[in-house]
Amino acid sequence: MKSAVITFPGSNCDRDLAVAIERVTGHAPIRLWHGEQSLPEGLDLIGVPGGFSYGDYLRSGAMAARSPVIGAVVEAAERGVAVLGICNGFQILTEAGLLPGALMRNAGIRFVCRTVGLKVENASSRFTSLYEAGETIRIPVAHHDGNYFADDATLDRIEGEGQVAFRYAEPVNGSARDIAGVLNAKGNVLGMMPHPERVVESQHGHTDGARMFEGLARSVLERA
Protein backbone atom coordinates (compact mmCIF):
# COMPACT_ATOMS: atom_id res chain seq x y z
CA MET A 1 0.00 0.00 0.00
CA LYS A 2 1.42 3.36 -1.03
CA SER A 3 0.32 6.09 1.32
CA ALA A 4 1.16 9.66 2.29
CA VAL A 5 0.61 11.60 5.50
CA ILE A 6 0.35 15.38 5.24
CA THR A 7 1.81 17.71 7.86
CA PHE A 8 0.40 21.20 8.33
CA PRO A 9 1.88 23.86 10.63
CA GLY A 10 0.37 22.79 13.97
CA SER A 11 -0.33 19.14 13.11
CA ASN A 12 0.63 16.94 16.06
CA CYS A 13 -0.65 13.47 15.19
CA ASP A 14 1.14 13.19 11.86
CA ARG A 15 3.96 11.07 13.21
CA ASP A 16 1.58 8.83 15.18
CA LEU A 17 -0.47 8.24 12.05
CA ALA A 18 2.61 7.46 9.96
CA VAL A 19 3.93 5.05 12.60
CA ALA A 20 0.54 3.31 12.92
CA ILE A 21 0.25 2.84 9.16
CA GLU A 22 3.80 1.45 8.97
CA ARG A 23 3.46 -0.88 11.98
CA VAL A 24 0.14 -2.30 10.82
CA THR A 25 0.69 -2.52 7.07
CA GLY A 26 4.47 -2.84 6.87
CA HIS A 27 4.70 0.09 4.47
CA ALA A 28 5.98 3.47 5.67
CA PRO A 29 4.00 6.42 4.34
CA ILE A 30 5.59 9.29 2.45
CA ARG A 31 5.58 12.42 4.61
CA LEU A 32 4.32 15.52 2.80
CA TRP A 33 4.42 19.19 3.76
CA HIS A 34 1.24 21.20 3.24
CA GLY A 35 2.91 23.52 0.73
CA GLU A 36 3.21 20.77 -1.90
CA GLN A 37 1.26 21.56 -5.06
CA SER A 38 1.11 17.96 -6.22
CA LEU A 39 1.09 14.46 -4.75
CA PRO A 40 3.34 11.49 -5.51
CA GLU A 41 2.05 9.17 -8.24
CA GLY A 42 0.11 6.03 -7.42
CA LEU A 43 -1.07 6.77 -3.90
CA ASP A 44 -3.61 4.39 -2.39
CA LEU A 45 -4.20 6.38 0.79
CA ILE A 46 -3.78 9.99 1.92
CA GLY A 47 -3.80 10.61 5.69
CA VAL A 48 -4.87 14.02 6.99
CA PRO A 49 -3.79 13.98 10.64
CA GLY A 50 -5.00 15.47 13.88
CA GLY A 51 -3.63 18.50 15.62
CA PHE A 52 -4.29 22.21 15.65
CA SER A 53 -3.36 23.31 12.14
CA TYR A 54 -2.76 27.07 12.00
CA GLY A 55 -3.67 27.26 15.68
CA ASP A 56 -7.35 26.72 14.79
CA TYR A 57 -7.41 30.31 13.51
CA LEU A 58 -10.74 31.43 12.05
CA ARG A 59 -12.33 27.97 12.43
CA SER A 60 -10.74 24.57 13.10
CA GLY A 61 -9.36 23.33 9.79
CA ALA A 62 -10.35 26.44 7.84
CA MET A 63 -6.87 27.65 6.99
CA ALA A 64 -5.45 24.19 6.27
CA ALA A 65 -8.36 23.48 3.91
CA ARG A 66 -7.13 26.35 1.71
CA SER A 67 -3.47 25.26 1.69
CA PRO A 68 -1.84 24.26 -1.62
CA VAL A 69 -1.78 20.50 -1.04
CA ILE A 70 -5.53 20.31 -0.46
CA GLY A 71 -6.28 21.13 -4.10
CA ALA A 72 -4.29 18.02 -5.04
CA VAL A 73 -6.06 15.99 -2.33
CA VAL A 74 -9.47 17.01 -3.73
CA GLU A 75 -8.38 15.91 -7.21
CA ALA A 76 -7.06 12.60 -5.87
CA ALA A 77 -10.31 12.00 -3.96
CA GLU A 78 -12.25 12.58 -7.18
CA ARG A 79 -10.08 9.92 -8.84
CA GLY A 80 -11.00 7.48 -6.06
CA VAL A 81 -7.88 7.58 -3.87
CA ALA A 82 -8.73 6.81 -0.22
CA VAL A 83 -8.52 9.87 2.04
CA LEU A 84 -8.63 9.47 5.82
CA GLY A 85 -9.07 12.57 7.98
CA ILE A 86 -8.72 12.09 11.72
CA CYS A 87 -9.79 14.74 14.26
CA ASN A 88 -8.37 18.01 12.86
CA GLY A 89 -8.14 16.07 9.59
CA PHE A 90 -11.93 15.55 9.69
CA GLN A 91 -12.39 19.28 10.31
CA ILE A 92 -10.10 20.05 7.35
CA LEU A 93 -11.99 17.69 5.02
CA THR A 94 -15.37 19.24 5.90
CA GLU A 95 -13.92 22.75 5.44
CA ALA A 96 -12.52 21.65 2.07
CA GLY A 97 -15.97 20.43 1.02
CA LEU A 98 -14.90 16.79 0.67
CA LEU A 99 -17.33 15.75 3.40
CA PRO A 100 -20.77 17.12 4.34
CA GLY A 101 -21.45 19.05 7.55
CA ALA A 102 -19.22 20.94 9.97
CA LEU A 103 -17.52 20.35 13.33
CA MET A 104 -18.50 22.84 16.01
CA ARG A 105 -17.44 23.54 19.59
CA ASN A 106 -18.33 20.61 21.89
CA ALA A 107 -21.79 21.09 23.35
CA GLY A 108 -20.35 20.90 26.88
CA ILE A 109 -17.73 23.58 25.99
CA ARG A 110 -14.92 21.45 27.45
CA PHE A 111 -12.11 19.67 25.67
CA VAL A 112 -12.92 15.94 25.75
CA CYS A 113 -9.98 13.54 26.09
CA ARG A 114 -10.85 9.91 26.85
CA THR A 115 -11.53 6.56 25.26
CA VAL A 116 -15.11 6.21 24.04
CA GLY A 117 -17.31 3.48 22.64
CA LEU A 118 -18.02 3.70 18.91
CA LYS A 119 -20.71 1.76 17.10
CA VAL A 120 -19.71 0.66 13.62
CA GLU A 121 -22.58 1.70 11.33
CA ASN A 122 -21.06 0.96 7.95
CA ALA A 123 -18.77 -2.06 7.76
CA SER A 124 -18.60 -2.24 3.97
CA SER A 125 -16.32 0.70 3.20
CA ARG A 126 -12.65 0.12 2.49
CA PHE A 127 -11.86 1.73 5.86
CA THR A 128 -14.24 -0.40 7.90
CA SER A 129 -14.44 -3.76 6.12
CA LEU A 130 -12.67 -5.62 8.94
CA TYR A 131 -15.21 -4.44 11.53
CA GLU A 132 -18.61 -6.00 12.06
CA ALA A 133 -21.68 -3.83 11.43
CA GLY A 134 -23.21 -2.99 14.80
CA GLU A 135 -20.03 -3.86 16.70
CA THR A 136 -18.91 -1.46 19.44
CA ILE A 137 -15.19 -0.67 19.41
CA ARG A 138 -13.16 1.51 21.77
CA ILE A 139 -11.16 4.41 20.34
CA PRO A 140 -9.82 7.53 22.10
CA VAL A 141 -11.03 11.04 21.35
CA ALA A 142 -9.18 14.28 22.13
CA HIS A 143 -10.92 17.36 20.77
CA HIS A 144 -12.60 20.66 21.51
CA ASP A 145 -14.50 21.01 18.25
CA GLY A 146 -16.04 17.64 17.53
CA ASN A 147 -19.71 18.49 17.65
CA TYR A 148 -20.91 17.31 14.24
CA PHE A 149 -23.56 19.48 12.62
CA ALA A 150 -25.48 19.24 9.36
CA ASP A 151 -29.03 20.28 8.53
CA ASP A 152 -31.76 17.66 8.85
CA ALA A 153 -32.06 17.10 5.11
CA THR A 154 -28.32 16.39 4.89
CA LEU A 155 -28.43 14.12 7.94
CA ASP A 156 -31.35 12.16 6.46
CA ARG A 157 -29.50 11.85 3.17
CA ILE A 158 -26.18 10.64 4.60
CA GLU A 159 -27.95 8.20 6.91
CA GLY A 160 -29.97 6.86 3.96
CA GLU A 161 -26.86 6.47 1.81
CA GLY A 162 -24.88 4.63 4.47
CA GLN A 163 -22.42 7.49 4.84
CA VAL A 164 -22.46 7.40 8.64
CA ALA A 165 -19.47 5.16 9.38
CA PHE A 166 -19.34 5.46 13.19
CA ARG A 167 -21.68 6.65 15.89
CA TYR A 168 -20.78 7.40 19.53
CA ALA A 169 -22.15 4.74 21.86
CA GLU A 170 -22.24 7.29 24.70
CA PRO A 171 -22.64 11.07 25.04
CA VAL A 172 -19.37 12.76 23.98
CA ASN A 173 -19.72 16.16 22.37
CA GLY A 174 -23.32 16.83 21.34
CA SER A 175 -22.90 15.63 17.74
CA ALA A 176 -26.06 15.47 15.65
CA ARG A 177 -27.41 11.91 15.84
CA ASP A 178 -24.22 10.95 17.73
CA ILE A 179 -22.27 10.91 14.46
CA ALA A 180 -18.54 10.30 14.98
CA GLY A 181 -17.39 9.46 11.46
CA VAL A 182 -18.71 10.25 7.98
CA LEU A 183 -17.98 8.90 4.51
CA ASN A 184 -18.39 10.79 1.25
CA ALA A 185 -20.99 9.57 -1.26
CA LYS A 186 -18.46 7.40 -3.12
CA GLY A 187 -17.13 5.89 0.09
CA ASN A 188 -13.45 6.70 -0.53
CA VAL A 189 -13.19 9.63 1.92
CA LEU A 190 -13.64 9.10 5.66
CA GLY A 191 -13.53 11.74 8.37
CA MET A 192 -13.72 10.80 12.04
CA MET A 193 -13.06 12.58 15.33
CA PRO A 194 -11.72 9.53 17.25
CA HIS A 195 -8.07 8.51 16.79
CA PRO A 196 -7.66 4.92 15.48
CA GLU A 197 -3.90 5.52 15.09
CA ARG A 198 -3.59 5.71 18.88
CA VAL A 199 -4.79 2.14 19.47
CA VAL A 200 -2.92 -0.20 17.14
CA GLU A 201 -0.54 -2.04 19.49
CA SER A 202 -1.20 -4.01 22.66
CA GLN A 203 0.92 -1.52 24.63
CA HIS A 204 -1.69 1.11 23.77
CA GLY A 205 -4.23 -0.77 25.86
CA HIS A 206 -6.51 -1.49 22.92
CA THR A 207 -5.90 -2.49 19.32
CA ASP A 208 -9.30 -1.61 17.87
CA GLY A 209 -7.74 0.94 15.52
CA ALA A 210 -5.48 -1.58 13.80
CA ARG A 211 -8.29 -3.13 11.76
CA MET A 212 -8.85 0.16 9.93
CA PHE A 213 -5.31 0.16 8.53
CA GLU A 214 -5.35 -3.61 7.91
CA GLY A 215 -8.64 -3.20 6.04
CA LEU A 216 -7.24 -0.39 3.92
CA ALA A 217 -4.17 -2.45 3.02
CA ARG A 218 -6.34 -5.45 2.17
CA SER A 219 -8.64 -3.34 -0.02
CA VAL A 220 -5.60 -2.24 -2.02
CA LEU A 221 -4.61 -5.85 -2.64
CA GLU A 222 -8.15 -6.81 -3.59
CA ARG A 223 -8.44 -3.97 -6.07
CA ALA A 224 -5.04 -4.65 -7.65
Binding site: R66, P100, M104, N106, A107, G108, N147, G174
Partner: protein
Amino acid sequence: MKARIHVTLKDGVLDPQGRAIHHALEGLGFGGVEDVRAGRLIELTLADGTNDEDIDAMCRKLLANMVIENYRVEKVA
Protein backbone atom coordinates in the same frame (compact mmCIF):
# COMPACT_ATOMS: atom_id res chain seq x y z
CA MET B 1 -12.17 51.54 2.19
CA LYS B 2 -13.06 49.26 5.06
CA ALA B 3 -15.60 46.47 5.17
CA ARG B 4 -16.73 44.87 8.38
CA ILE B 5 -17.83 41.27 7.93
CA HIS B 6 -20.24 40.12 10.61
CA VAL B 7 -20.25 36.33 10.81
CA THR B 8 -23.07 34.79 12.83
CA LEU B 9 -24.36 31.28 13.38
CA LYS B 10 -27.46 30.34 11.41
CA ASP B 11 -30.74 30.10 13.26
CA GLY B 12 -31.19 26.65 14.71
CA VAL B 13 -27.46 25.96 15.04
CA LEU B 14 -26.64 25.28 18.68
CA ASP B 15 -24.21 27.85 20.09
CA PRO B 16 -22.49 26.41 23.19
CA GLN B 17 -20.33 29.52 23.55
CA GLY B 18 -23.35 31.80 23.51
CA ARG B 19 -25.00 29.56 26.07
CA ALA B 20 -21.94 29.70 28.35
CA ILE B 21 -21.85 33.51 28.07
CA HIS B 22 -25.55 33.61 28.88
CA HIS B 23 -24.95 31.45 31.93
CA ALA B 24 -22.06 33.67 33.06
CA LEU B 25 -24.18 36.82 32.71
CA GLU B 26 -26.84 35.23 34.88
CA GLY B 27 -24.12 34.32 37.37
CA LEU B 28 -23.15 38.00 37.54
CA GLY B 29 -26.70 38.80 38.47
CA PHE B 30 -27.92 40.16 35.14
CA GLY B 31 -31.51 39.01 34.78
CA GLY B 32 -33.62 39.52 31.70
CA VAL B 33 -31.13 38.15 29.17
CA GLU B 34 -33.26 35.85 27.04
CA ASP B 35 -30.66 34.49 24.65
CA VAL B 36 -27.00 35.00 23.67
CA ARG B 37 -25.48 34.19 20.30
CA ALA B 38 -21.74 34.68 19.78
CA GLY B 39 -20.33 35.66 16.40
CA ARG B 40 -17.18 37.03 14.82
CA LEU B 41 -16.26 40.41 13.38
CA ILE B 42 -13.64 40.59 10.64
CA GLU B 43 -12.52 43.99 9.41
CA LEU B 44 -11.06 44.19 5.94
CA THR B 45 -9.10 47.18 4.66
CA LEU B 46 -9.64 47.11 0.91
CA ALA B 47 -8.27 48.92 -2.12
CA ASP B 48 -10.73 51.53 -3.36
CA GLY B 49 -12.95 50.07 -6.03
CA THR B 50 -12.91 46.49 -4.70
CA ASN B 51 -16.17 45.19 -6.04
CA ASP B 52 -19.00 43.67 -4.05
CA GLU B 53 -18.76 40.35 -5.87
CA ASP B 54 -15.17 39.90 -4.68
CA ILE B 55 -16.12 40.71 -1.09
CA ASP B 56 -18.98 38.22 -1.29
CA ALA B 57 -16.63 35.59 -2.71
CA MET B 58 -14.16 36.17 0.16
CA CYS B 59 -16.98 35.58 2.63
CA ARG B 60 -18.27 32.45 0.95
CA LYS B 61 -14.88 30.89 0.23
CA LEU B 62 -13.21 31.51 3.57
CA LEU B 63 -14.53 34.02 6.09
CA ALA B 64 -17.82 32.21 6.77
CA ASN B 65 -18.59 28.48 6.69
CA MET B 66 -21.88 28.47 4.81
CA VAL B 67 -22.90 25.15 6.40
CA ILE B 68 -23.30 26.78 9.81
CA GLU B 69 -22.85 30.53 9.41
CA ASN B 70 -24.35 33.60 7.75
CA TYR B 71 -22.48 36.80 7.02
CA ARG B 72 -23.36 40.42 6.58
CA VAL B 73 -21.11 42.98 4.91
CA GLU B 74 -21.04 46.45 6.42
CA LYS B 75 -19.11 49.02 4.41
CA VAL B 76 -17.33 51.69 6.38
CA ALA B 77 -16.05 54.81 4.66
